[in-house]
């Protein structure tokens, strides 16, 4: 009874339905994909292309091959900006991760007022970097600043010239950054802590674990998947540090806080050397991507 003809017709209809289905799906996605392609994907590729060209603010790009890269790697200023940024990553990323975890542990304890403490620590999250930068510029001021006054009471003398001394400027930027953004990591760890089943702690207690052993053998291993995204995102954010530096020191004193993002800003939007700035952007991207891959490999996530 079953002749091949109706079967074929059926297949044709079903593939027509599936094409129609695909079209509907892409129609729904079209507005977003348009924005995504025009303002994200395409610029990313153009950015990589620009890194191989000489490109000013007007006129067409001229192909230069790898010259922008060799120029950068031979530029003392760029190498310094890499070193400064690496220094900042070490100063800021480790406390952001460790302190974020410890704060989450703290506000996860059943303490009266913990919701208020959480809210206060979270508050800087909604403040723009411009306001944060100028508030800390005032707090860190050498002679009338709040921090030096209280450090003085603790016996720190003479007062530290936080933003004026090349040795203390980057630590000062790191302190500001930690105050400003540690709350994000705190909230992520807090969500992770609340997902750990209570049974695990009970089992550990039955085996005779104390408080710190509970943290060591239950909490930390259970937070491994959380670490797998907290660590890369924190480190990437630190490599990109810009606003705090721009507002507080503009890269000074003596270039001690001049970071990669600052280098890109100056090169692209002050000197209008778009090719070299793009090459610096590509190097920044390669650094953050390779860090992420190495870190996720080490954690056996990928």
């Amino acid at each position: 009874m079953s002749s091949p003809a109706p079967k074929k017709a059926k297949r044709a209809t079903s593939s027509w339905i599936s094409v129609k289905n695909d079209l509907i799906a892409y129609a729904f996605m079209a507005p977003y994909l348009f924005l995504f392609i025009v303002f994200l994907l395409l610029p990313a590729f153009v950015g990589v292309y620009a890194s191989f060209t000489k490109w000013g603010i007007i006129g067409d790009p001229k192909w230069r091959g790898l010259k922008n890269y060799t120029k950068l790697l031979n530029s003392e200023l760029f190498i310094e900006s890499l070193q400064n940024t690496l220094y900042f990553v070490v100063l800021a990323a480790i406390p952001l991760i460790v302190l974020g975890f410890l704060l989450a542990l703290l506000v996860n304890q059943k303490l009266r007022g913990r919701n208020i403490a959480r809210a206060i620590v979270f508050l800087p999250h909604v403040v723009s970097v411009a306001a944060v930068g100028i508030i800390f510029k005032w707090i860190l001021e050498r002679s009338s600043g709040l921090l030096n006054y209280y450090l003085g009471l603790l016996g720190v003398n003479p007062p530290i010239n936080w933003l004026g001394d090349p040795d203390s400027a980057m630590p000062a930027i790191a302190i500001t950054t930690i105050w400003w953004t540690v709350n994000g990591n705190m909230i992520i760890y807090l969500a992770g802590l609340q997902d750990i089943p209570e049974d695990l702690y009970e089992a550990a207690r039955i085996d005779g674990a104390g408080r710190w052993q509970e943290v060591r053998y239950v909490t930390i291993p259970m937070l491994l998947p959380v670490n797998a995204f907290v660590i890369p995102l924190t480190v990437i954010a630190c490599w990109r540090v810009f606003g705090q530096v721009f507002v507080m020191t503009r890269g000074g004193p003596q270039g001690s806080t001049f970071t990669i993002a600052q280098y890109i800003y100056e090169t692209a939007f002050v000197k209008f050397d778009m090719g070299v700035a793009s090459a610096a952007g590509v190097i920044l991207m390669l650094i953050t991507l390779s860090f992420t891959v190495v870190q996720l490999r080490a954690m056996k996530v990928i």
Partner: protein, 287 residues
């Protein structure tokens, strides 16, 4: 007080529990460290000129005054900057919501060719440092004569993938039965989205809206380079440029500007706290 709270007292079995006492002490210390800069900013902004640099520092002025605020609003177009920020953040938020809700529906609920690859490409941009985009976007905006427009500040931010990801995740949790019931009633795909998915997704939509708004309100690098007139300049850029104008010792006015920029954000946050917490804890992205 309920039973569970009694356990949290620093007294246990009639004696002082030093461990809990220490935790309370640490918590109070933490609250002071994170709260004090806000209070200091505000107190400085209401001090008269001669008290700003008083030593030792005082936590309340002898003669509180709003003089710095008057000077601030007289000398700088703060209201214009606020208006610009409001317009920019509103454009970005509305555009983000409209496009993300539409895109999340097929990604969560339809089988179509290329679904995996589209998701993968969108998500991979989470790891892309935005600095690589600045030069091409800047040159593009110049080329199409769009620099110093609200469009140029607001629209690129709507390409961010975080909302699509968050909404796709949420749509996946909506029961299939509801969708099937809607289909039996003859709902089209768009009808399903409008009548079933959107009403059920109000919390996640609110999270994306608030997150996008604050991210846009506080965005710095891109608005700094693409707007250089007061007609489009946003609050953070205005503050940064204004500090850069050599007022570096006028901390009273500067703190008034920081307070004027911060107080609305803080009120906004206190009203909508839970949405921020949800946004961060479900995506790991921090604005």
């Amino acid at each position: 007080m309920s039973e569970s709270w009694r356990k949290d007292s620093v007294y246990q079995d009639g004696s002082l529990n030093y461990g809990r006492l220490a935790l309370y002490a640490i918590m109070i210390f933490v609250a002071i460290i994170w709260g004090a800069p806000f209070i200091w900013m505000f107190v400085t902004s209401i001090k008269p000129d001669n008290e700003v640099f008083s030593y030792p520092p005082t936590w309340w002025p002898d003669e509180p005054t709003l003089e710095f605020y008057t000077r601030l609003f007289e000398s700088f177009p703060m209201m214009q900057w606020f208006r610009n920020s409001l317009i920019v953040a509103t454009i970005t938020t509305v555009l983000t919501l409209a496009t993300n809700i539409l895109a999340a529906y097929p990604l969560a609920r339809m089988r179509f060719r290329g679904r995996k690859i589209v998701l993968l490409i969108i998500l991979s941009t989470f790891l892309l440092p935005g600095e690589i985009l600045l030069v091409p976007l800047f040159l593009g905006m110049i080329k199409f004569k769009l620099a110093n427009t609200y469009f140029s500040i607001a629209v690129p931010a709507a390409a961010n993938a975080f909302g699509v990801f968050l909404m796709t995740q949420f749509f996946l949790t909506i029961p299939v039965e509801l969708e099937e019931a809607g289909r039996l009633d003859g709902c089209s795909r768009l009808g399903l989205l409008l009548r079933i998915f959107i009403p059920l997704s109000k919390p996640v939509i609110a999270t994306v809206a608030i997150f996008t708004f604050v991210r846009s309100w506080n965005d710095f690098f891109w608005p700094l380079i693409i707007s250089n007139t007061d007609a489009t300049r946003t609050v953070p850029v205005g503050l940064a440029v204004f500090v850069g104008r050599g007022l570096s010792m006028r901390f009273g006015v500067i703190m008034a500007s920081a307070a004027a920029a911060t107080i609305p954000a803080v009120i906004f946050f206190l009203l909508l706290q839970r949405y921020f917490v949800r946004g961060i804890s479900t995506t790991g992205l921090q604005g």
